[in-house]
Amino acid sequence: MAMKGTSTLFDKLWSDHTVCDLENGEALLYLDRVFLHERTGAVALQSLHAAGYGVRDARHVFCTMDHIVDTFPGRGDKTLMPSGSDFILATRRETRAANVRLYDVDDADQGIVHVISPEQGLVLPGLTLVCPDSHTCTQGAIGALAWGIGSSEAEHAMATGTLRVRKPKNMRVMVNGTLRPGVTAKDLILHLIAKYGANGGAGCVVEFAGSAIQQLEVEARFTLCNMAVEFSAFTAVIAPDEKVEAYFEGKDFAPKGEHWRDAVDYWRTLRSDENAVFDIDLVVEAEQVEPAVTWGTSPEQAIGISACIPAAGDYAEAHRQEAATRALQYQGLESGNAITDIAVNAAFIGSCTNSRLSDLRAAAAVVKGRQIAPGVRGVVVPGSRRVKRAAEQEGLHRIFTDAGFEWRDSGCSMCFYAGGETFGEFQRVISTTNRNFEGRQGPNTRTHLASPETVAATAIAGSITSAEMLAKSESLSA
């Protein structure tokens, strides 16, 4: 165990949740919250009961319908995914039987797990939270230890209130300086993954720190931590600060009164000590980050908006050359062309990465008073019902629909293709999501990841562009 004064934030979260060290190098970690969703929740609950186990404390378990539900207005239990309603009905049945709080299809607070959990104060700084979803790392942004697990681990978590975990290493990513105007947390995380590779954070809990991180609003921090798994990190954390305190104050499940004061006192201890020891230290200069877009089929295949599509020969290592050749072919791209020469068929704004109110505001600010380019399909999917209502109160939905975007109900939607809705084969999509894998958004669908601002600007221009470039080109042609 680290000596006093040399602990990282992660060390503190880890030791505060250690029930005991097991004899074989693992620790038994106590879990404050478990979140399920309809993709895997019913299977986990069924399998748990079939093995003769029960849920240790159902009050600590929550479930949402986000992965499979349709996002068309007026949706019900039926889905475009052929067997989708089986998952919805089984999840409803199993959560009822287990007394687990379910955010059902028609619940006023339904939404994507990593949006609704912080939105309602279910996750809080200093807590542990697990969910059978790899993007659970999102929730580390407020100083919780939150990580994605498989179904078997979800069963273990529910049955025992704990998980057996081997302690990951400590990595710090120090982001110095200030992000340039128009450059977002999404661009920063794509820049980091491109620079250090899709396995750059393997085996580590990544703490994001430095002035550029402190300057990020809480919702932008979720975007940053969301893609820690695309960096192969175990999870990510950011020390909670006054912004995080303000974010949680008054939320439904945030502590109240004396409990609030106790919580804040504790939260203020949740930061890495001055002499904290990190196994790996990376430094990023924020000024060097520009709006980023992926060109390939791994999040590491990202470049700045002013760059050209690389050639396989641009890479030194054989495996990167092979990956580039394969990606260029899948994406139907030629190296050497500017990324801004690529025309798109569709633009998608949503997902646990970028579907919060601030994301929608940023996209709407670009879209306002403009029209989607002819032939481009635009879809906006709020991350939760609450986000949707708040956006509608501000009139954001009008801005989107007036420009030609579809305005949807909340859910994961077309972030991935589960057999239901898709943009179609060989369609090129600029997307605020987190994965550009082959087939992720549908068989042979071509995905380019970017920030909400860049996706909005691209939808208007019809080819990949940033908000700044869009404004410049319009003032030139005016």
Binding site: S47, G150, G419, F437, G439
Partner: protein, 216 residues
């Protein structure tokens, strides 16, 4: 769970890096509320001629006659990155894969392997390429043996040792149910929980009070 002690079989190479769990089993192939029936969705995007089709694509490695009955996969770094879907492991196991040799694994995938008796073996990338090269001429006869007791990978005159963390190795060798093992510590968990609730009542009071109001 079936213990893993030692296994000998045909090893098929899929050497690119960053093979994600969407590639191992596309979401569209996860059709039923079940852990079963996933083997035929394994690598569906690569294995079949068209989405939704079951017509085998002859060029995909597992469809080649020389790799028929393959029970070991050789892969590049960061195998099983991406989505946490345990379906990827269930699909591999149902297909008949008993071990994956790669130079690195997605963290969630790695744990999912251990929980399902699938052995993840870590070897340096160049050793995996050497092994794949050696096998390529006659994979049916020149098979690979993975011995978890001795932590050795052997094929012909080639041999490498590997490491696997002690907890994972113990689970696999004995085919153990981790829930049963953990419940042996129930007293410690209860004691920890009581102390934590005293010290951090703020963390539980809001959800417990609210949820009691919601549920019948």
């Amino acid at each position: 769970m079936k213990p893993f002690i030692s296994h000998t079989g045909v090893a098929a190479p899929l050497l690119q890096r960053n093979i994600d769990t969407d590639a191992i089993i596309p979401s569209r192939e996860m059709k039923r509320v079940s852990k079963q029936g996933l083997g035929e969705g394994l690598f569906a995007g690569w294995r079949y001629t068209m989405p939704g089709s079951r017509e085998l694509k002859p060029s995909f490695v597992l469809n080649k006659p020389e790799y028929e009955g393959a029970s070991i996969l050789l892969a590049g770094d960061n195998f099983g990155c991406g989505s946490s879907r345990e379906h990827a492991v269930w699909a591999l196991v149902e297909y008949g894969i008993r071990a994956v040799i790669a130079s690195g694994f997605g963290a969630i995938f790695h744990t999912n392997c251990i929980r399902n008796g699938l052995l993840p073996v870590c070897l340096p990338e160049e050793d995996i390429r050497t092994l794949a090269q050696a096998l390529s001429e006659d994979p049916q006869n020149r098979q690979v043996t993975i011995d978890l007791e001795q932590c050795l990978v052997r094929s012909g005159d080639l041999e490498w040792s590997f490491t696997l963390d002690e907890a994972a190795r113990y689970m696999l060798l004995n085919g153990l149910d981790p829930i049963a093992l953990t419940l042996q510590h129930r007293d410690l968990i209860d004691k920890y929980e009581q102390a934590r609730r005293r010290e951090h009542a703020w963390a539980y009071a809001p959800i417990e009070n609210a949820v009691e109001g919601v549920l019948p």
